[in-house]
Amino acid sequence: MTLSLESLKRRHIDPTKPLLEFDRVVMHYRIKAGEVSAVEDVSFTVHQGEAVGLVGESGCGKTSVALSLLRLLPANAAYLSGEIRLNGEDLLYLSPEEMRQRRWNDIAMVFQGAMNSWNPVYRVGDQIRETLDTHHRGLMTYAQQREHMEKLFSAVGLPPAMLDRYPHEYSGGMRQRAVIAMALALGPELIIADEPTTALDVIVQDQILKELKRIQAEMGMSIIYISHDIAVIAEVTDSLGVMYAGKMVEFGPTSEVFARPRHPYAYLLLRSTPSITGPRRQLAALEGEPPDLLHPPTGCRFHPRCPFAKEQCVTHEPPLEDIGGGHKVACWYHEEVPELEGALQR
């Protein structure tokens, strides 16, 4: 394993090749009261250089998916079945030490609120240097590390002199940029960004998303964006997965899912997002609350809140089916969903 300044350059990518395959993963949390079915038979693929979004409400399992593939789950989590392959290698069979090597080298993460995770008493540059030291002891001289970090900072739009500053001297947006710089430090193939801009103002959010997009293209990285903000996901991703109650209910090219959502939940989610452009249409509201995953509903997990649920939805669980062009939907009646518009007006 070598790390050089070249690792910040674009790697060769083949967009048809899968980088990460999340394959039929079942993951439960064991608590006193029973088992929480947090990730239930979820599959999706991230190709080389692709940006994939995961959307859903809090508690739908999107962050559990991210933690699963990093193997950073709490002790009470149990992988029950499935494979998580990175470049064909099943991460679930790696030893803890091998997995530790993959993290940050191959898969880096930008967590929600990570900008508040800087240690206030050390200079930001020294904290990034620590990452380099931990993963690549002795591979770079002090001066090379400095040069590498300066490149990283320029890449995320921070003046290199900021390396010598303390976290309190940074604004929120700058701190988040520094987190991204740290995630890029070892030139990972995949970055997981969990709500990377949620706490930021729109103008700063816009700058950071643009920066991430540019870096992703320049370095040939793949990104998994996790967000509850559908508008953010719409702008930055190539593919999109909609999760509900631990299940992937719809997956497909972002433009396709936005233009023709076929799962009633995805449909209502998109129709309930206010926008500042276009006519001010009525927003759909979803009644009820997400289910308790200790006792998930029978059949389709969305049926208790679904305005179109029928007998079959209560008794039988719909599979995630390809309806053409890589657009997958888990709904027995997805062909009728385009008629929902009329039903909503009633």
């Binding site: 409400e57 809090s58 604004s171 929120g172 947006g173 103002d201 729109v202 103008i203 700063v204 959010q205 816009d206 700058q207 998303l209 509850h228 903000d229 559908i230 508008a231 953010v232 719409a234 702008e235 972002t254 433009s255 936005f258 233009a259 209502l268 989610l269 998109l270 309930s272 997002t273 206010p274 926008s275 500042i276 452009t277 276009g278 001010r280 009525q282 927003l283 759909a284 509201a285 979803l286 009644e287 009820g288 609350e289 809140r305 679904c306 305005p307 909503l344």
Partner: protein, 355 residues
């Protein structure tokens, strides 16, 4: 199973002839920064710097801007959680008519029968050791209104109205037993229990998931119409403001830089800051490409700000006139549409950016 958000009335303001419910004049809030051995205040943060606006009866005014622009401070002053350092707030509600900027003690208590607040975080705005009944009935207890059975009936009525049914099941539960959406419904019930005419809502839906957010927005709109409540709706989310507010005021570093009817501001923004803010809002439609945002960087703090336009540092159109003159006043630039910028005409005429 689904309910739709009722469409807002399209008229920007009803009852224009009536005196406004709230009339804010030159409101000012300066926070001292103490330094040195004697902790003397040498500098001041001009959090709210001489702003004026009106809210009509039954109207919802949106206050939008980036964090640190002074929108929350303005809201807190209007419900007397903070004493302003200057300015007037005329509040007219029936035979109640006074400048609430200067009221104290028992007068504040009297005012709070008419003005209430809904906070952003439903997890932190409730005492975890008090039941839902205690929480919602607290304003009545403070105001010494009704007997306990009467209060219980009122609370049950409110819980039913905010969609917590059956209300009996919620009465003696604790906040931790409720979801975020349910808690925010309780917060709405608490704000409305005294039947106020004015409610300040500080980002009431920003902590909630989209689907739940819409039902709370629909609830607040429906209750406002039913009870004739006026809102000051504080938000950073312009898309939410579009659905909740009749008019929008855009704040920047303690100043209102643009104010006008919601759809007019969104379709026809005139201040360079409003334009930038709107162009930065992500759109839930991957087929639309936004125009690039013209301004850079983040908002700073208004510590002893120089007299010129507050936006000059980040403004792509800043010119000589902006440097040589004090912060521009709000001027009428269309029906009910006011803008504080010296260069509106030049920008409309197609002046190129200066930076």
């Amino acid at each position: 199973m689904t309910t739709a958000l009722p469409a807002m009335p399209t008229a920007p303001r009803a009852n224009r002839a009536d005196a406004p419910l709230v009339e804010v004049r030159d409101l000012e809030m300066r926070f001292p920064i103490s330094r040195g051995m004697f902790r003397t205040a040498t500098e001041f943060v001009h959090a709210v710097d001489g702003i004026s606006f009106e809210i009509a009866r039954g109207e919802s005014l949106g206050l939008v801007g980036e964090s640190g622009c002074g929108k929350t401070t303005t809201g807190r002053i209007l419900v007397k959680l903070q004493e302003p350092t200057g300015g007037n707030i005329m509040f007219r509600d029936g035979d109640y008519e006074r400048d609430v900027a200067t009221i104290k003690g028992s007068q504040v208590k009297e005012y709070r029968r008419r003005a209430q607040m809904i906070f952003q975080d439903p997890y932190e705005s409730m005492n975890p050791r008090r039941t839902i009944f205690d929480t919602v009935s607290e304003p009545m207890a403070v105001q010494k209104v009704g007997t306990v059975p009467e209060r219980e009936n009122r609370v049950l009525e409110l819980l039913r109205m905010v969609g917590l049914s059956p209300p009996e099941n919620f009465l003696f539960r604790y906040p931790h037993e409720l979801s975020g959406g349910q808690r925010q419904r309780v917060a709405v019930a608490r704000a409305l229990v005294m039947n106020p005419s004015f409610v300040v809502a500080d980002e009431p839906t920003s902590m909630l998931d989209v689907s739940i957010r819409i039902s709370i927005m629909a609830l607040m709109t429906a209750l406002a119409r039913e009870f004739g409540v006026s809102y000051l709706y504080i938000t950073h989310d312009l898309a939410v403001a579009r659905y909740m507010c009749d008019r929008i005021a855009v704040m920047y570093l303690g100043k209102i830089v643009e104010i006008g009817p919601t759809e007019e501001i969104l379709a026809n923004p005139k201040h360079p800051y409003t334009k930038a803010l709107l162009s930065a809002v992500p759109l839930p439609d991957p087929s639309i490409r936004r125009t690039p945002v013209a301004i850079k960087g983040g908002i700073s703090k208004a510590i002893n700000p120089p007299p010129e336009c507050r936006f000059i540092q980040r403004c792509p159109y800043a010119a000589e006139v902006c440097r040589d003159n004090p912060h521009p006043p709000l001027e009428m630039r269309g029906e009910d549409h006011f803008v504080a910028c010296y260069r509106v005409d030049a920008i409309e005429a197609g002046a190129p950016p200066t930076s």
